[in-house]
Structures are given as structure tokens and as C-alpha cells.
């Protein structure tokens, strides 16, 4: 196996004064150079917090433990100078709502110029040429005019393209895209995802795609990690994970998704709701909602086990491929 670009080991994040609100609970993940990894989970599963913690972007009251290594260099607890040389330059991040990430009172050109000056030390005419090239790269027509526009003059899709251009300004090795298309319409979402795929093909940049939409992840990455209540419950290649999920939560997410083709079926709804941070049960966090839960699931947190090639699941039960917890009569209730 190649040397990982980023290796996260035993990452924990605690919020609150008493530190008992655990948002991320022992996450292990690694990303190879040029790889595309998808992170799936519902709101509050810790998928965004993991990456904010890795880049030291969480507020001071959050306590981060464990390790995040970028090519061997520790980022957790690293001095600000080191983090500043990583953010944007090695690892860039884009977010769900582009218009709230851009400064509304500055022109696009100035904001792009700032990123180019900060990360690459470019200024004047060189910066403008590079800015025009970046806008062209993200598929914005009439780039020269756009540099003089303010964010509110552009649509949501165009603003997200600007955000991607700004993220590319530092020529990062890894782009973390946190729900990049959730705020966009379906046809615009398809455009942005095609753009990200094209950029990855051209630059060889690694991508972490965070999304709650299994379809978005399935189409755009090779490897997928599923998070639930701050823990990684399953991890595997896309076709294994979506074709032969082993964790009851992943299986539940798949069974809850209506399809576009084939006969309409009754959706298997996972009962209950995601536990609030800090109120996760002692054992497996999914146990209270799991149709297969046994007494030990309530008391003992399951360790992550290898269930196939590059396929791991954190479940006490040895679920065979093809068996779904949600086809049982008990789950239909």
C-alpha cells in the first residue's frame, strides 16, 4: 500500500465545559494521494467536525485528542504557523453554503487575489492572470467580468464554482468538500460534481467528499466511510459498501432510500433518532435503533473488524453479505 497522505488515528473531539459532549469518538481514517474518499452520515454524526478538527478550525472550547498526520507530520496540537502552512495550501476545504463563505462586500477578484497572495505570493498582473485561469478551470465563462462582480450578483452555482476556484488557488493536495452541493438545485449539483471529477482527473488532487446523500457519494468516490454518532461504523470500496453492506446502520440507510427505477417498495425506516452528542449509549451507539441488537451491544462498544478486502465494519454480529437486518419482520414494525 502507498504511504497515506493523511492518516487520522483515534481522533476524538469533546465539546462543552465538562467535556462530556463527545462529537467525534475515536475515528481512524487514511487517505492515499489522489484518492477520492466519501464520508456519509446524518447530521450530528461528526463527519464535518472530524475535518474541522484535523485542520485546527474548531473553537478553543473544543478539545481534540488523537492524531492527524499529514505525510507524517502531526497536526493535532501543532503550532499555528504549521497549521497555516497546511490550510489552503496542502488541505483546502469548501462548504455547503458558498454565499456565506464569501465576503459580501468584496469583489470576487479581490477575494481570489487574497488567496493567491497568501498561498502562492502572487500579486499584480501575475495574480490576475492566474485568477482568470482558475475561473476558466472551474468553468466560469466571461471570467474577466466576473472578477469585478460581488457574490450577491452571482447564482448559488456560480458562487460554489468561485469557492472551488479559491480552494484550488493554493494548489492543495487534498480538497475536503463538505456537502458542496446540498444547497444547490439538482441540475446545478450535477454540474458541480462533474466539475470536481474533472479537476481531480486533471490535477491528481485527493478528494474527501462529505455528504448525507448516498447517491452523490456513490457516483463520485472509490472508497466510502459511514459515520454514526461520532464513530466510524463501516468503511469499504463503493461497490462493496453499497452492494454488500455489513453494518445494520449502513443497510438501514440504503433501505430507507427511495429509488428512481424499479417497482416502488415500502421504505424501511430506521426507528428513533440519532442520539444527541454526549448522550450516546455506553455500548454500540446504534444499538437502541438496531433491529438485531443483543444485550452485549448495549454495554460493549464494538471494535472495527475486517470483513473483506479493504472493507471494515464495527458490529458485534457477523452479518453475512446479502443478509439485511431490515428485511426481518421485526424491522417492518
Amino acid at each position: 500500500m502507498t504511504v497515506p497522505l493523511v492518516e487520522i488515528a483515534g481522533l476524538t473531539v469533546d465539546f462543552g465545559n465538562d467535556g462530556r459532549s463527545r462529537a467525534v469518538d475515536g475515528v481512524d481514517l487514511s487517505i492515499a494521494p489522489g484518492e477520492a474518499l466519501g464520508i456519509v452520515g446524518e447530521s450530528g454524526s461528526g463527519k464535518s467536525v472530524t475535518w474541522l478538527a484535523a485542520l485546527g478550525l474548531l473553537p478553543a472550547r473544543a478539545r481534540v485528542g488523537g492524531s492527524v498526520r499529514l505525510e507524517g507530520r502531526q497536526l493535532v496540537g501543532a503550532p499555528v504557523r504549521l497549521l497555516e502552512s497546511v490550510r489552503g495550501k496542502r488541505i483546502a476545504m469548501i462548504f455547503q453554503d458558498p454565499s456565506s463563505c464569501l465576503n459580501p462586500v468584496h469583489r470576487i477578484g479581490r477575494q481570489l487575489g487574497e488567496a493567491l497572495k497568501l498561498h502562492r505570493g502572487l500579486g499584480g498582473a501575475t495574480a490576475e492572470t492566474e485568477a482568470l485561469r482558475l475561473l476558466d478551470q472551474v468553468g466560469i465563462a466571461d471570467a474577466k467580468r466576473r472578477l469585478g462582480d460581488y457574490p450577491h450578483q452571482l447564482s448559488g452555482g456560480l458562487n460554489q464554482r468561485i469557492m472551488i476556484a479559491m480552494a484550488l488557488a493554493g494548489q492543495p493536495d487534498l480538497l475536503v468538500a463538505d456537502e458542496p452541493t446540498t444547497a444547490l438545485d439538482a441540475t446545478i449539483q450535477a454540474q458541480i460534481l462533474a466539475l470536481l471529477a474533472g479537476i481531480r482527473r486533471d490535477t491528481g488532487m485527493a478528494l474527501v467528499l462529505i455528504s448525507h446523500d448516498l447517491g452523490v457519494v456513490a457516483e463520485n468516490v472509490n472508497r466510502v466511510a459511514v459515520m454514526y454518532a461520532g464513530r466510524l461504523v463501516e468503511e469499504g470500496l463503493g461497490q462493496d459498501l453499497f452492494g454488500a453492506a455489513r453494518h445494520p446502520y449502513t443497510q438501514g440507510l440504503l433501505a430507507a432510500l427511495p429509488t428512481l427505477t424499479g417497482p416502488r417498495r415500502h421504505l424501511a425506516a430506521i426507528p428513533g433518532a440519532v442520539p444527541e452528542p454526549g448522550k450516546a449509549p455506553a455500548g454500540c451507539s446504534f444499538a437502541p435503533r438496531c433491529p438485531l441488537a443483543e444485550p452485549r451491544c448495549m454495554s460493549e462498544p464494538p471494535a472495527s473488524r475486517r470483513v473483506g478486502l479493504l472493507h471494515r465494519a464495527a458490529c458485534h454480529l457477523q452479518i453475512e453479505p446479502g443478509f439485511s437486518a431490515w428485511n426481518l419482520p421485526k424491522a417492518a414494525e
Binding site: E42, S43, S155, G157, L158, D185, A186, T187, I188, Q189, A190, Q191, L193, A194, H212, D213, L214, G215, V216, A218, E219, N220, F242, G252, L253, L254, A255, A256, L257, P258, T259, L260, T261, R264, H266, L267, A268, A269, I270, P271, A273, V274
Partner: protein, 329 residues
Amino acid sequence: MTHALLEAADLRRHYKVRAGRGPFSAKATLRAVDGVSLKIEAGRTLGLVGESGCGKSTTGKLVLGLIPTTAGTVRYAGNDMPPAGSTAWRALRPRMQMVYQDPLGALDRRLPVGVQIMEPLAIHGQASLAERRERAAEVMTAVGLQRHQFDRYPHELSGGQRQRVVLARALMTEPDLLVCDEPISALDVSIQAQVVNLLLDLQERMGIAYLFISHDLRVVRQVSHEVAVMYLGRIVEQGEAESLFAQPAHPYTRALISAIPVLGPRRKRLLLQGDPPNPVDVPSGCAFHTRCPFAVAQCRAQTPVLRPLADGRQVACHRVDEPALQVAA
């Protein structure tokens, strides 16, 4: 029954706006809804899909009379909808209710949810307090809420439970029609399935008709009998859900459906260029021609009207019958 439960004909809603910035710029008309006709049978679901700004939410409010129409008629159970605000309209309102996207925004944070669930009966002057309580308990059970949650405040409930409260409140008056405006968009995937199943279950048990407004095509397919696709204030395609999703006829419907990411093997995608145009400045002819890969000169000049296809579906496209278009699909 001979009449559809709800029948809207040629609904229009235009807003006067300023075309540019500043108070002295030219006046313009924003055609939020521009000639929409639709029909919902009792106990059935019409799904209304389209991208943001296409007028689907405005259509939902127009059919209930929550905002005045610029033109067009709405008939409810065969009779003209009385003017909004009139006594007759108010008497009709318990029969049709609205469910919004954001349950926290639709609920009063300072009142226990039980009180809010009982409120519609108080407004419509039905039943004593004891009867209201009893009915609220019944409805709460029907939507899967526990009796002890009656005294909870909205912030004490999860997103899915709040949406159940909103649904319970809408069901209090035993409506025949629910207009659901993105009822599950704010919810997590596993919770969405709970609410979708609940809506289907309620329809089966109580025979409620839904106007289901959503941008999520997968969910619309799951719940709808019929589907109407809107683009810039007009319906471009309308028909039976199964065939519309299996064989979309209008290029826009086709693009919308092919834009949905899928888990299985990837299909060939019809990727549209650019953004939807500004609704203040709708393109001439077919409003979709600026993004349509099949547009010809006729599309720029002439606005297509909805025409029936062989399978009963209605499509507003000049080129829909051309074999070339079918091959390109």
C-alpha cells in the same frame, strides 16, 4: 364522484418588481406562476417538482387561496373557491391544510406542542376543550407521537418528531387535502423514510389527497400518483408518475431525472449548461431553450403549449415527437 377534489385552471401570479437595482430602475413583471392548470382527485397525490424559483411553492399557496391569484380559477369539490378571507372560504379552510418544510419555523417555540396541535379546532370553533384534548391525543397516536409528548416544547423534540407535530396539527380538522411544501427536505435520510411512510399510511387510512411539492425526485416518485414538472412558472410535463419517471419526454424532465445521483451503475447523464434564467427576464418562446440541448429556431420564437402524448401524458415541447430526440436520449 364526478368532480376532482381540486381543480385549478390557468393559475397566474405576477409580481411587480424593479428590473434593475435602485428605486428608479425600470418596472418589470415577475411571472412566478404563469398559466398552471392542475387537478387532484380525492385520496390521490400530485407531485409538483422543479428547481428553486420555478413557482412550485407559489402554486401551492395559490390553490389554497393563501395568496391572491393574478388570474385563473380554483375549484374545490366542483365549486368555485370562495374569495380568500370570506366566511365561506374560512368554512372551507379546515378541509385543506398546509405543511411546511421547516417544522421549527412553523411551530411556536413558546407553546407546548399539544396546545398547538389543538389550536386548529379552537380557530375553527369546533369542539369543547375536553373534546379537543381527546382528538389531539388520537391524532398524536396516528402520527406516531407519544401521549406524554403533549406537554413538550418544540425544542425538546427531534426534527422528525417536530414534523410529526406539524402533521398532527394539520390533521386535527380531518382535511381532505394537504398541501405539503418540501415536508421532508429538512430531515435526515433515516427520518425522511419515517415521514414518507407515515404520509402514505395516513393517505391509505384517511383518504387524504396530497399536493406534494418537492425538489427530491426520488421521494416524489415514492409518494405520487401523478407528477407535474415546473420550469419558470409553467408546467412543462405532467402525467402518471411511473411512466413519467421511466420515460421522461420533455428535455428538462429528462435532465432533472438524469441529474439524480444513483447507487447502481451510472447512466449517461444529460448535463445542462448554465443556471435557470432570471424569472424577471424569461427567455422568449420556450423558456427552456437557453439550456436545452435540442433547441431549434422554432423554440426561440414560439411558446409550446401542453399537448397530450399517446399515453395520456401532457408535454410542452415542440420537438417531443421527433425521432431524433428519442434517439438522443
